[in-house]
């Protein structure tokens, strides 16, 4: 079919195909204008927070729970200064250091929660959609019920159940991540299940069954690859929501103990009582950190969604080389 293409175009096509194998790049190449700007801005914001989280120990001048250095106590509720860029809290901790370490807490919880949701939600959706029957109906009913429930209340109930008695840093992070997982599993389940129900009767699945492939093989080797494509988009969009749920839980005083890790939502809550005295720096900086991280993740998720949904995509104009049509002699009325 492609024999008519000149050689240079063929190599170009090969290069293009190779480039599109890098997922981020493919998405970037498919966008133009405003969408490309959104994707880039989002990716940069996320990258920034990842760097801050990874190198928190190097970036933060003090520990997140440190209220003195060299035997001298930090001033309490001091406004931003050269020594404390973002000021200090009521207990004398450095706001800048707490914001920096907060990025680490947020990313740990989110990565764990998203990974757990995928590990639980995707196989569940695959099995439920492929097998059907009573199991499918029961799972759909339960996840639909969970889905309709206010996410924050659900997360509260789950974290009461699992976090009672736990107060270590890892315990807090794991239990909060599990609570967030329960909230978001229904979304992965729904999407994968519905895609599986559709894919189950596709000719290629039928063919695999006709060749004698057992259900497990059909699911894993044939259906799986065709239904997971939307998972990265849901994962990114959920990640933003999950950060807000984490912050909401922290704001209500859940999950992570303040002495074992820095958490932005908790810090904003503590700043409410400072606000009456006109003290703005204890709440502003952790709050801004939440906004920027969620903004970054959401921009990436939205742009990916737009890119993979051709109806919403704004493509740049490309030069199209039309094949040379050799008119059949005497054709046409």
């Amino acid at each position: 079919m492609t024999t008519a293409l000149p050689e240079s175009a063929q190599t170009e096509a090969v290069i293009e195909r190779r480039l599109t194998r890098i997922p981020g790049l493919a998405a970037l190449r498919a966008t133009a204008g405003f969408q490309r700007g959104m994707l880039l801005a989002g990716a940069l914001l996320v990258l920034f927070f990842v760097v801050v989280a990874v190198f928190a120990g190097l970036i933060a001048p003090y520990g997140f729970n440190q209220a003195s250095a060299n035997g001298v106590d930090f001033p309490t509720l001091a406004p931003p200064s050269a020594q404390h860029w973002f000021g200090t809290t009521v207990s004398g901790t450095d706001v800048f250091s707490r914001v920096v370490y907060g990025a680490r807490t947020a990313l740990e919880v989110i990565v764990l929660a998203v990974a757990l949701s995928i590990v639980v939600g995707v196989p569940l959706g695959l099995i439920s959609g492929y097998r059907g029957g009573w199991l499918d109906r029961a799972l759909v009913l339960i996840t639909d019920a969970l889905f309709a429930f206010p996410t924050l209340l659900l997360a509260i109930v789950i974290s009461i159940a699992i976090a009672s008695g736990q107060s270590s840093a890892t315990g807090g992070i794991v239990s909060t991540a599990v609570a967030i997982t329960v909230v978001y599993v229904p979304q992965y389940f729904r999407v994968v299940r519905n895609a599986t129900v559709a894919a189950r009767e596709e000719p290629y699945a039928e063919a695999a069954r006709a060749l004698g492939a057992p259900p497990r093989v059909v699911m894993v080797r044939y259906v799986f690859a065709n239904v997971v494509q939307t998972v990265p988009i849901i994962a990114t969009l959920n990640a933003g929501d999950a950060i807000l749920t984490l912050a909401g839980l922290g704001f209500l005083g859940f999950g992570i103990e303040p002495s074992s890790a820095a958490e932005w939502g908790y810090d904003v809550n503590k700043s409410l009582s400072d606000a009456a005295a006109g003290i703005w720096w204890t709440g502003l900086f952790p709050g801004l950190a939440i906004v920027l991280l969620v903004l970054g993740v959401t921009l990436v998720g939205e742009s990916l969604n737009d890119v993979l949904n051709p109806v919403l995509r704004t493509t740049k104009f490309r030069k199209v080389e039309l094949p040379i049509v050799v008119p059949i002699s005497g054709g046409g009325p």
């Binding site: 912050a247 209500l252 969620v294």
Partner: protein, 348 residues
């Protein structure tokens, strides 16, 4: 003609019955889930009073609350109780959860109502503007605004508004549902609705009404903006889609001016999905209300839940959460009914 009407009302009835039958298992699953999850942590009496009361006292309280019986019989009693509107008793201040629901629920209802007004008043007009200026600077700016309202946690927006409008500028009160003297005065209004605006109107002093309204402004904006972005995007997308449909094209072809096409022809149909999504947004608003109420010390259900959690009164939490689940299920059912009535396509 007559037969068409009959069959369409028949399909509406079938739809409503099916939809109602779906609510029941959903509510049952939620009640069951909350009940058992809240029991995983162990004995509610022990969590609430452990270390503060003697072992015998805890045992006697456990007995009087029926918590020493097999879990399945407790579950059955709870289920029967919920069906009769009895959500159990709180442990720490020993009152029926249904009383808490009525007094605090009114406050949450008031807040959610104002927030919905803000969300619609901000989201719908801005969505129209964004659709009119598609892909031009106003549209780009509004889309960024929508993402930003989503990315900002309600409690942080509340904090910022508080810092600016109540502390720095002193225009609006920083917290509470009314000033103390107003709250005391309207306590004795009868019939008392616990919805402060109505209570203040019944009391008859205009300055009290203004006081109540002033207290509602910041919480309503805070919670309302949370969903305003959703409505903005929804109205924008639907308007753009409707503007491309054949009947709108037909109106244009007849020479109807573009502004009038948007206002008279496209807008109404573009609003149908807004009604549908409103049902989903109620759950979001109720979740956001917990955080908003905590930020503004608004004494509603969310504030009560946060308070009971701190006191480890898990029977109270269980009762309130169950009630909220039922309320959400009923509201989303009602919204579906409304959208089925206004949009015949939903029924099929």
């Amino acid at each position: 003609m007559a037969t068409t009407t009959k069959s369409s009302s028949g399909s509406l009835r079938t739809y409503l019955i099916t939809r109602l039958l779906l609510v029941i298992p959903m509510v049952w699953v939620l009640i069951t889930l909350v009940f058992f999850v809240m029991r995983v942590i162990g004995d509610p009496i022990e969590s609430a009073f452990g270390g503060r009361l003697s072992a015998e006292e805890i045992a006697s309280r456990r007995h009087s609350a029926g918590l020493d019986r097999p879990i399945l019989s407790q579950y059955w009693d709870y289920l029967v109780g919920v069906l009769h509107g009895d959500f159990g008793h709180t442990l720490t201040d020993n009152q029926p959860v249904s009383t808490v629901l009525i007094t605090k629920g009114a406050a949450t209802l008031e807040l959610t109502f104002w927030a919905l007004i803000v969300a619609l008043a901000v989201g719908i007009p801005l969505g129209r503007v964004a659709a009119r200026y598609r892909d031009r600077p106003p549209d780009v700016g509004l889309r960024l605004f929508a993402v930003l309202t989503y990315a900002t946690p309600v409690f942080f927006l509340g904090l910022l508004l508080k810092l600016l409008f109540s502390i720095k500028l002193g225009w609006l009160p920083a917290s509470g549902r009314a000033s103390t003297n107003v709250e005391l005065a309207i306590q004795n209004v009868s019939p008392k609705t616990n919805i402060f605006l109505i209570d203040a109107i019944l009391y008859g002093d205009p300055s009290y009404v203004i006081d109540v309204l002033k207290h509602a402004v910041l919480p309503a904006i805070t919670l309302g903006l949370l969903t305003a972005g959703v409505f903005l995007r929804l109205v924008r997308v639907n308007l753009l889609q409707t503007m491309r449909s054949d009947y709108v094209e037909a109106a244009r072809a007849r020479g109807v001016p573009e502004r009038r096409v948007m206002r008279k022809h496209a807008f109404r149909n573009a609003m149908i999905p807004v009604v549908t999504v409103m049902g989903l947004q109620i759950a979001v608003l109720l979740g956001g209300a917990v955080l908003t109420e905590k930020t503004f010390e608004w004494q509603g259900l969310g504030y009560a839940v946060a308070d009971y959690i701190v006191r480890r009164d898990y029977l109270a939490v269980q009762g309130i959460v169950t009630a909220v689940a039922i309320i959400v299920a009923i509201i989303s059912f009602l919204i579906d009914v409304i959208s089925a009535i206004i949009d015949p396509r939903v029924r099929y």
